[in-house]
Symmetry: C2
Subunit: 261 residues, 2 copies
DNA sequence: CAGTGAATTTCGGTC
DNA sequence: GACCGAAGTTCACTG
């Protein structure tokens, strides 16, 4: 049988069903009154109330209240779940090894339990992120400006990585910091840091640049920047280039490319 | 009636139930085959597969696959959900105003739908965070060292806030940066920045400190630090004090305090 | 394993 | 509504 449901089960019936579901690595959905205790990286307690509990075959354990996107309590994948009965009360326990974390749920008045062997073989196709932006710029450097030649991706410096390093048409060095969302002051500061890191570093690119008496240009590349970032950019002599992250799914891209082959 | 369930409903039955549930501001749980399209800050597409859908009375909309703690697609609270039928297919649509985001779900082969008017009046009680650590240190400064006198909490400087500002028994200035988890290099850098911000600022504390020829001590306060942070701290002349965040629920604390009154 | 950084981060605070 | 920072962040990726 692919799935099973119990409505208003007794605690012993519920115990049997949950244990069976866990053994079968099924996905369990419950709607029940419960009380929750969490002890691990932090500590929390949630008194009696009706919640939705989701237990996944990968060990993920979620407890949702009727508000918020985030679960009120949870355990990550690979956690071990078990059900047990104590003093004629049903408990669920989810245990994580490192870091040691324990989630204990006391159940009462279960409205329903459903378990199912989920069939889902799809993965999310997505686009519109910093990485997509970087790919796009490496493929079409002119988006930044005419004559821009990217030379390195993820160029390592003291405090992190320069997203894209390159040169303009006059061979001035260009340091690009990409943001796929609106950039704030923190992005400008990050870029500033990379520039000074680079300027203080001992590397071929820099030596060549200095021997040719070229400039180092810092560019913040993002869809937009907020007002404070705008001011800071002008003070710091940094340039801003507005680029939107490509919102094109890989599959679409592939089809498009295939069409050209 | 407090809750309703349908197993293997036809699309029109499902439509009726969902519309009724949305009108009643109920919490909806579904287990169904579906296909998902998201367009907003990013873009994503998820092909047909069985998933669990959760729609909350606050407008939150979650789609869970059988893996991970995070939903594969979602909309935040205050989103508006509606159901509609097109070409004898049932769709769910969740719409957010700012930023404009749209989640569209095509449903097929619904295994079950449940809606319920959830009764939950409890909020999570929790402890073990940075704020708790700060509270604890303000109340018991000797945790840091004998003679430590905290003077300011969240003291504003150029690039942020100094968690705790104070003086040692010799009236040297102490700048504390708190972390409730293992501190890394980034925390040391943050502290360094606050120290230099403070040193470059124009304020009473600093003038007094300099006129008395006192030192400025930087302290990183966290349960532990990683190896890289350890090295950096020694280089930079910053001190590390190991403090664990208090794992004590407010209610417990209140009871403890009451017991002493 | 630990460490780094992005995320449709979410969420709560303040301005 | 924008901005800022914490979070049991989670997650993917690297060494």
């Amino acid at each position: 049988m692919k799935y099973k449901t119990l409505e208003n089960p007794e605690y012993d019936e519920a115990y049997e069903l949950i244990t069976e579901a866990l053994r079968k690595k099924a996905t369990i959905v419950m709607y029940t009154n419960c009380k929750v205790l969490y002890e691990g990286r932090a500590l929390s307690e949630l008194d009696w109330g009706e919640r939705i509990i989701l237990i996944k075959p990968d060990g993920s354990f979620l407890i949702h209240q009727d508000k918020k996107v985030e679960p009120v309590n949870w355990q990550p994948p690979k956690s071990k779940t078990r059900a047990f009965i104590k003093n004629q009360q049903l408990f669920l326990e989810s245990h994580r090894r490192t870091p040691k974390e324990l989630l204990t749920v006391e159940l009462d008045n279960i409205q329903f339990i459903n378990y199912a062997l989920i069939e889902d073989y799809e993965e999310l196709e997505q686009a519109g992120y910093e990485k997509d932006m970087g790919d796009m710029i490496m493929e079409n450097p002119h988006i930044i400006e005419e004559g821009f030649k990217p030379t390195y991706r993820e160029y390592s410096v003291e405090h992190g990585f320069i997203d894209i390093l390159g040169k303009d048409h006059e061979n001035n060095l260009m340091i690009l910091e990409l943001k796929s969302r609106k950039a704030g002051v923190s992005a400008v500061k990050q870029l500033k840091r990379y520039i000074s890191d680079f300027d203080e570093s001992d590397n071929e690119e820099l030596h060549q640049c200095k021997s040719e008496k070229k400039k180092i240009r810092g560019l913040l590349v993002a869809p937009t920047i907020d007002e404070d970032a705008k001011e800071l950019i002008e003070e710091e002599g940094i340039e801003f280039v507005s680029v939107n992250p490509p919102k094109e799914l890989k599959r679409d891209k592939k089809i498009t490319l295939d069409a050209f082959n």
